[in-house]
């Protein structure tokens, strides 16, 4: 059972997204827990037909999960908190995909989000049939293309024009995990899934149905995990299984698709062999949805990239962005499972220098921010300390492979494709990238590490667990500063550093008067952020003979602020209809079917100004929701400690 704030937020989100009826059903279902359609209709006090229709729309978006234990058994419905919350992430997800994969992919994602899940064949049909609308959609999107994406991103086409392109986009998104394959298990509640797993193992390996004793229990656990992994592999997209070669139909039972294919290729006998063989099509039976876990990973990368850029400058930020991109492809899950052996070296997700160099934008001026390292225009180093030393190292290494600095400088100006010189410039680039990575490594936040400590290997990894702990703390600090001011922040940080402290110690460490500290601590306590532990000196437990040790529990503060964020999001979203009511008459007028698309002629100057004002108000509110969602990504999805949605 999720908390009240989340329930409220989800209800608001669903009302926004699917409408009143669905919101009513969702709320009823979340209040009463798992139940059948008939019970649900009774609780919600609506006719069964309405309840069923509402449930169908909710299942379409996977906001409600269902399970039927066996044939003819009643079907039970359960809400899915995680999927319901994900409705708030739509803005961020579309922006992320558009930024990385271009406008066309953004359109595809938007369509899939709109539909919840969709069969590839049906999607393709819808696209093929709407060439005119496709053309229209491109008209006013031109200025929306982002100018800041990395060079490796595809040139952003406005819209999907060919079947091959459509399949290409889907394949890209599936390979990177933004889209996921949907199987029947995606619609089952986690607890039922677990039960089914255990049942399968018992039937398979424990015919006497007895799992007793520690040895058997361990065997059982191992078997369950094994089966779970197998199911997970089944459920993930793989190029080998899910790509129907040459667009052939796999299941003969499907009577939709063959007609379509026949129509498409009917004109020329060998049509698809020529222009589509290069990009094998996806099986048309494949069902896809947007994988939000994966998107959270992307949002985390974006956040880290921004942070690095802010603290270390553009060039270093770009290098870090490239590293993140390489690493992200290799990380499948956002949270690492707790290691079985805490002493064992953690295997960090890592990327080779060459990979980083490949995915880094050629345009980035690597030499500009580190003095002397790349330096087309920069002079010989005369600085001391770290930078000077590093530069010395680089210079030496250049000397070792026989490159004089002057020579490479001249090559920088006129790039040639000559083998040797291109090798040289590549080597130089890699060196510079490494210098930037070292800079990142030295930063107190520890942005990245060499994959094997101590060695000079060219693999660089990122320890996300440590990094995220730092980010979470920074997020909490931001919130505390904004709410209570700098004094409170100072006290909180000290409590976090030093553990449990007495009031007087707090005062002396924070260099504040005891009285001031007292008021700060009391305020924090009443907000639930700090707390005091009582240590009585005698049996009487008299307050004057008791020591109070103050402490700050990061995890507790984290979940507290998470809940408050949910609440704030719900309030912000609820504000939109209130604001809308202020502009109700003009909005209704603008939405009239005869006025729509003819606003220029049919609305007066004042009315247009009024509408514009409304658009701005709504934009600000929605922006704020998107920002708060980023906080949720950090506090909930990226944190190994948060378990609020693991039920």
């Amino acid at each position: 059972m999720a908390a009240q704030n989340l329930a409220e937020l989800c209800a608001v989100l669903i009302e926004n997204h699917v409408g009143d009826l669905a919101a009513q059903i969702f709320t009823t279902l979340s209040e009463h827990g798992r139940c059948t359609a008939t019970t649900l209709a009774g609780h919600a006090n609506i006719p069964l037909r309405r309840a069923r229709t509402g449930l169908a729309t909710l299942i379409e978006e996977q906001l409600v999960l269902h399970h039927t234990a066996e044939e003819d058994a009643p079907t039970f419905y359960t809400v899915s908190w995680r999927n319901a919350y994900n409705l708030a992430r739509h803005a961020n997800v579309i922006a992320l995909v558009t930024e990385r994969y271009g406008e066309a992919a953004g359109q595809v994602i938007k369509n899939i989000l709109q539909l919840g899940h969709a069969r590839v064949g049906d999607l393709a049909d819808a696209y093929d049939l709407a060439p005119a609308s496709q053309r229209d959609s491109g008209i006013d999107m031109d200025q929306a293309t982002g100018g800041m994406m990395n060079g490796t991103a595809k040139p952003s086409n406005q819209h999907v024009t060919s079947t091959a392109e459509f399949h290409g986009i889907l394949r890209n998104l599936l390979r990177d995990g933004i889209l996921a394959k949907v199987g029947a298990r995606s619609f089952m509640p986690v607890s039922d899934l677990q039960e089914q797993l255990q049942e399968a193992v018992i039937v398979d390996q424990f015919p006497d149905r007895k799992v007793t004793g520690p040895k058997k229990a361990r065997e059982f656990g191992a078997a369950v995990n094994e089966l779970k992994r197998r199911w997970q592999i089944d459920d993930t997209f793989s190029e080998a299984v899910d790509v129907g070669s040459r667009g052939a139909i796999k299941r003969p039972g499907d009577h939709f698709a063959p007609n379509k294919r026949a129509k498409l290729n009917g004109g020329f006998a060998n049509g698809h062999a020529i222009d589509e063989s290069s990009a094998p099509k996806l099986s048309l039976d494949l069902i896809v949805r947007v994988d939000f876990t994966r998107c959270a990973l992307g949002l985390r990368s974006r956040r880290l990239h921004q942070l690095a850029r802010r603290v270390l400058g553009n060039a270093t930020g770009a290098v870090y962005g490239a590293l993140l991109k390489c690493v992200e492809r290799k990380v499948r899950i956002i949270r690492s499972e707790p290691a079985e052996d805490p002493d064992a070296d953690k295997i960090l997700p890592s990327a080779n220098l060459n990979e980083i160099a490949e995915s880094l934008d050629r345009e980035v001026d690597l030499g500009s921010s580190i003095k002397g390292v790349g330096g087309n225009k920069h002079l010989k180093p005369n600085g001391t300390g770290m930078k000077g030393k590093k530069n010395q190292v680089v210079d030496d290494e250049f000397a070792e492979i026989g490159i004089k600095e002057e020579l490479s400088e001249s090559e920088d100006d006129e790039p040639t494709t000559n083998g040797l010189s291109s090798y040289r410039s590549h080597a130089k680039r890699v060196k510079m990238i490494e210098a930037h990575l070292m800079l990142l490594e030295e930063h107190p936040k520890g942005f990245c590490k060499r994959a094997r400590a101590g060695s000079t290997s060219t693999d660089w990894g990122i320890d996300f667990d440590d990094l995220m702990d730092g980010l979470i703390e920074a997020e909490l600090d931001d919130t505390i500063t904004a709410k209570f001011g700098k004094k409170s922040l100072r006290v909180v940080r000290m409590l976090r550093e030093r553990g449990r402290l007495e009031e007087k110690q707090v005062a002396s460490f924070a260099m504040m008067r005891v009285k001031d500290v007292r008021s700060v601590l009391t305020e924090l306590q009443s907000e639930g952020l700090a707390d005091a532990q009582e240590l009585p000196k005698d049996n009487q437990r008299q307050p004057s003979r008791t020591t109070y040790l103050w402490y700050f529990d990061t995890q507790r503060a984290q979940s507290l602020i998470l809940q408050q964020t949910y609440k704030a999001m719900a309030r912000t979203l609820q504000r939109i209809p209130v604001e809308r009511d202020r502009f109700r008459t003009i909005i209704e007028k603008a939405e009239r079917t005869d006025v729509k698309d003819h606003e220029q002629e049919k609305l007066g100057q004042g009315e247009r100004a009024y509408l514009r004002e409304w658009r701005e108000v709504e934009e600000r509110l929605l922006t704020q929701v998107a920002r708060m969602d980023e906080v949720v990504v950090i506090l909930r999805d990226c944190s190994a400690k948060d378990v609020s949605l693991d039920t």
Binding site: V18, P47, H598
Partner: protein, 258 residues
């Protein structure tokens, strides 16, 4: 944790600081601590709400995408709105409906013809579904032609259904207000840079004409379709109607604006 006493000291006299009836107070006594009641600020004390930072360009883009998606969903067949009356039951009985009648807005008017229609029940039948993903009891809900007894028999040839993927432009018509504003801002900047008053006055008109032309282009097909259908009375009426509206609103707008 309370520290220091509130009222109770006075009775013991001057000697009794930090004690009560000769007994040591159970908490640490702080002679400097004073009780300062905060002056009453009224029921709603003044507070300055924090103002958020204005959205950045990328955030604006994200919101734009989201609005676009939302507009599509709201126009789609799945989105439902219920009147408050209809919340508890599908049918509204007459008495209730009469009680809720608003003489100012509910009187049927001509312009209501143009009101955006609202769904009260999602239309599920217009698009294909992956039936296996739904529980069996809902199959008849999502597919009206589905018949439990015939399901094993030969599948009948049905009308093909398509997913509704519509062009975003039509749906988010309000979007052009943002653009218009940006354009206007650019124009004003240009105006300031130039100097000539005449040129400045002409420029916006030009842009408006361009926009109208663009709109015309978009709906060319629609108009053609309407033109062919001479016997459509509604269409005929709409055309005449629009002509009047155009003249009136257009004139007024131009006079006001420029």
């Amino acid at each position: 944790m309370p520290r220091g006493g509130g009222g109770g000291f006075g009775r013991g006299g001057a000697a009794a600081k930090g004690t009560m009836r000769g007994m040591q107070l159970p908490w640490e006594y702080d002679p400097d601590l004073e009780y300062k009641p905060t002056p009453n600020e009224g029921l709603f004390p003044k507070s300055v709400p924090p103002i958020v930072k204005p959205p950045t360009a990328s955030e604006k883009r994200a919101v734009e995408h989201y609005r676009n998606l939302r507009a599509r969903i709201h126009e789609g067949p799945m989105y439902t709105t219920l009147d408050d009356l209809k919340r508890d039951d599908e049918g509204v009985d007459d008495a209730k409906a009469k009680a809720a009648y608003n003489p100012f807005e509910d009187a049927p008017t001509y312009s209501q013809r143009y009101k955006r229609p609202r769904n009260t029940l999602p239309k599920l039948s217009d698009r294909p579904y992956v039936k296996e993903m739904f529980p069996e009891e809902l199959w008849s809900t999502i597919d009206e032609e589905y018949d439990e007894d015939l399901s094993s028999a030969v599948p009948t040839i049905k009308k093909k259904k398509f997913l509704d993927i519509s062009e975003p432009k039509k749906y988010d018509a309000l979007r052009r207000f943002d653009e218009e504003e940006a354009k206007k801002a650019a124009l004003e900047a240009g105006k300031a840079g130039k100097e000539a008053g005449g040129e400045g006055a002409e420029a916006p008109e030009e842009s408006e004409e361009e926009e109208e032309e663009a709109v015309d282009d978009d709906f060319e097909e629609d108009e053609d379709g309407a033109g062919a259908d001479d016997y459509n009375a509604e269409q005929y009426f709409e055309d005449g109607d629009e002509g009047y509206d155009d003249a009136g609103a257009g004139d007024a707008g131009e006079d006001d604006g420029y």
